[in-house]
Subunit: 142 residues, 3 copies
Amino acid sequence: MAVKVETGSFEVSSGGEGDVLDVTSRVREAVAGSGLSDGVATVFVVGSTAAVTTMEFEPGLVKDFPAMLERTAPSKGVEYEHQRRWHDGNGHSHVKASLVGPSISIPFVDGELVLGEWQQVVFLEFDVRPRKRKVVVQVVGE
Amino acid sequence: MAVKVETGSFEVSSGGEGDVLDVTSRVREAVAGSGLSDGVATVFVVGSTAAVTTMEFEPGLVKDFPAMLERTAPSKGVEYEHQRRWHDGNGHSHVKASLVGPSISIPFVDGELVLGEWQQVVFLEFDVRPRKRKVVVQVVGE
Amino acid sequence: MAVKVETGSFEVSSGGEGDVLDVTSRVREAVAGSGLSDGVATVFVVGSTAAVTTMEFEPGLVKDFPAMLERTAPSKGVEYEHQRRWHDGNGHSHVKASLVGPSISIPFVDGELVLGEWQQVVFLEFDVRPRKRKVVVQVVGE
């Protein structure tokens, strides 16, 4: 069977800074909808104050991961050059997003993502207010 | 030549937290085994307490990189909500893994990964005990 | 239309540690040059003391992001095992590069990268001296 490209996307509505959303089912739907058996799903967040990674999606880590980033790029107590220029209060949000990164690539086999049992795909909101976001899921496979 | 998808995987046995393993040859074998000339190798770690990146694999950095992560997401001195709920002692392991990320994508040309001379593909164990791990290497190319 | 692979690369000349370069147009040129409509562009930095991510490329964040990494993997005040062995003064550079990572994957649709309006592709130099670098852009698409 020939390799094909199928590009989809979905929207998420975040609650603002520190919100972590399990988007695994949305990625699975994109793979299922492509009708492809084996390939790679690229998950890409559009925007510069949000990111994507994998984690065990449970209520503890959903707090622990943003807490680590808040220690690393604090919203208070560090002066951001971004703030001096733009006064929009989200310099730390940008820094966190660039660190975690906008994309992950997840292989799938027989139509199933190769995630571990306790490994979910998560969208991470870092901006200081609720946002509507677009996440692109592109499937390349056969 | 038509583009094809070849999915392989390998197992690693880690020594527990802070173990860094050079898996470059395993990724090279997957590319060679595919018989493909040009394309991309997606390296994906199955599980939520391990990660993959590239580094110069030498005995110094193998200590320096985990040491940086231990400062960023300390195993001691920070209370993790994960720990309060699950009592498995590895909240920091999860946080480290999500930060580094589960996947990298490495192009190859004429059957050779485009790595630098001092750039190896490394598997990073963050869990608090030795683990057997599955790493998926999926090759899409022609 | 059949899926194809097109591999290109470009060189950047960095000013040394903390230099952040907007390479979005170089990635766009690779996509345009491929003549492909829909697919994924893998951006991969060759070398172990540089990295790639996305950010809003503006003069504030160009300082804020390296400043965060300097707090996380300081060039001074932390002893690096790499330094003890190699005495080349760039242990922290390696650690920063491995943390941010060597690759990102950006889907494109109708020949356009799915980046946000304020989201650019950036090359990050962490080495302690100006460097010439090779960045590979590989396009897989149809």
